[in-house]
């Protein structure tokens, strides 16, 4: 047998971390991922087409492992040994079970909202409030760079608990997105710090 060493170099410590990007349809999840990803976000439509070719959605054998996901994800190499992945949640209701899969092992979640259409992000907020232990923050996407409502008004409208951070960001702007990701992980550090009354543990 001929063995050839990987061109990728010898094995070493390599770590990947993950942040989930959630929110309703059209709130800017793909835009946000694109703003920072070093790879083009994987084309959801292509993946869907592939899925519809290989998987019959009406099949009785269509269980969790044969469900194909439709989602965008991006990659940011932070160091030779450290990669951060951003996974956008599939918006369609029929992909709901995939959220648990995507959230497993996530370091935090960022729920994106459009202040003009808060309702489309309600299901995502409900998911992280009730069905997941992953710490999350809410990010108001400033479409056209304009803040149309005060953050306090948005917090009230979303009926958010005071512990959930709410910030504004421009999903098209790389710097702004990086700040949002940093805020997401900073929140995770705070809520998971030893001694925090509401500390959560990974599932």
């Amino acid at each position: 047998m001929d063995f050839v060493s990987s061109p990728d170099g010898p094995p070493r410590r390599r770590t990947s971390a993950k942040i989930v990007v959630a929110g309703g349809f059209g709130v800017g999840k793909t835009t946000l991922v694109s703003a920072v990803s070093e790879i083009p976000p994987v084309n959801t439509e292509a993946w869907m087409t592939q899925a519809s070719k290989t998987i019959d959605p009406l099949s009785a054998a269509d269980d969790k492992t044969t469900t194909t996901v439709a989602m965008d994800f991006g990659r940011i190499t932070l160091a030779r040994h450290l990669v951060l992945y951003l996974f956008g949640t599939p918006g369609q209701a029929r992909f709901w079970p995939m959220w648990d899969d995507l959230c497993r092992g996530a370091s935090g979640a960022l729920v994106l909202v459009d202040s003009r259409r808060l309702d489309v992000s309600f299901p995502a907020i409900n998911y992280f409030e009730n069905d997941s232990d992953v710490p999350f923050i809410i990010v108001v996407n400033l479409f056209d760079g304009v803040q149309t409502h005060s953050l306090e008004d948005i917090r009230d409208a979303l009926e958010l608990s005071g512990q959930v951070p709410l910030i504004a960001a421009d999903a098209r702007d790389r710097r702004s997105v990086i700040d949002s990701l940093t805020a997401t992980l900073t929140h995770t550090m705070e809520v998971t710090a030893p001694g925090n009354r509401d500390a959560v543990t990974a599932r």
Binding site: F3, R14, K18, I39, Q50, T54, G105, L185, A202
Partner: protein, 114 residues
């Protein structure tokens, strides 16, 4: 290369839907010792995954997307390759995704980018 549209997923996986391996969507997979003769004997889907992981260490989701193999099938096929030590599934370095040193490292990396 794309998956054969006429093959049902369970044919590719021999009816299996799970694996022994802990494969999250962002788990990194690589190939340390590429074996061309071994690759030539694999089914097209497994071959594509094996060759892609050899070209660059990538996450399970990237391998799935780039090879056009659904996530569930990708997990089973990668599990087989790992069981026979053909691929390396990078173990999680930290006990928890909330490990403060991991979070600090990622935050530091992001700030460097900004």
């Amino acid at each position: 290369m794309t998956a054969n549209p006429w093959l049902r997923p369970y044919v590719l996986t021999g009816g299996r839907t799970g694996t022994q391996q802990h494969l999250l969507v962002h788990t990194l997979v690589g190939v340390e010792n590429y074996d061309a003769a071994f690759a030539a004997r694999l089914l097209p889907e497994a071959q594509a995954l094996y060759e892609r992981a050899y070209a660059a260490t990538e996450s399970v989701a990237e391998l799935s997307a780039h090879c056009g193999v659904s996530l569930g099938v990708t997990r089973v096929l990668l599990g087989d390759l790992a069981a026979s030590n053909r691929i390396l599934i990078y173990p999680e370095t930290y006990d928890s995704p909330y490990d403060p040193s991991l979070l600090k490292e990622v935050i530091h990396g992001l700030r460097e980018l900004a």
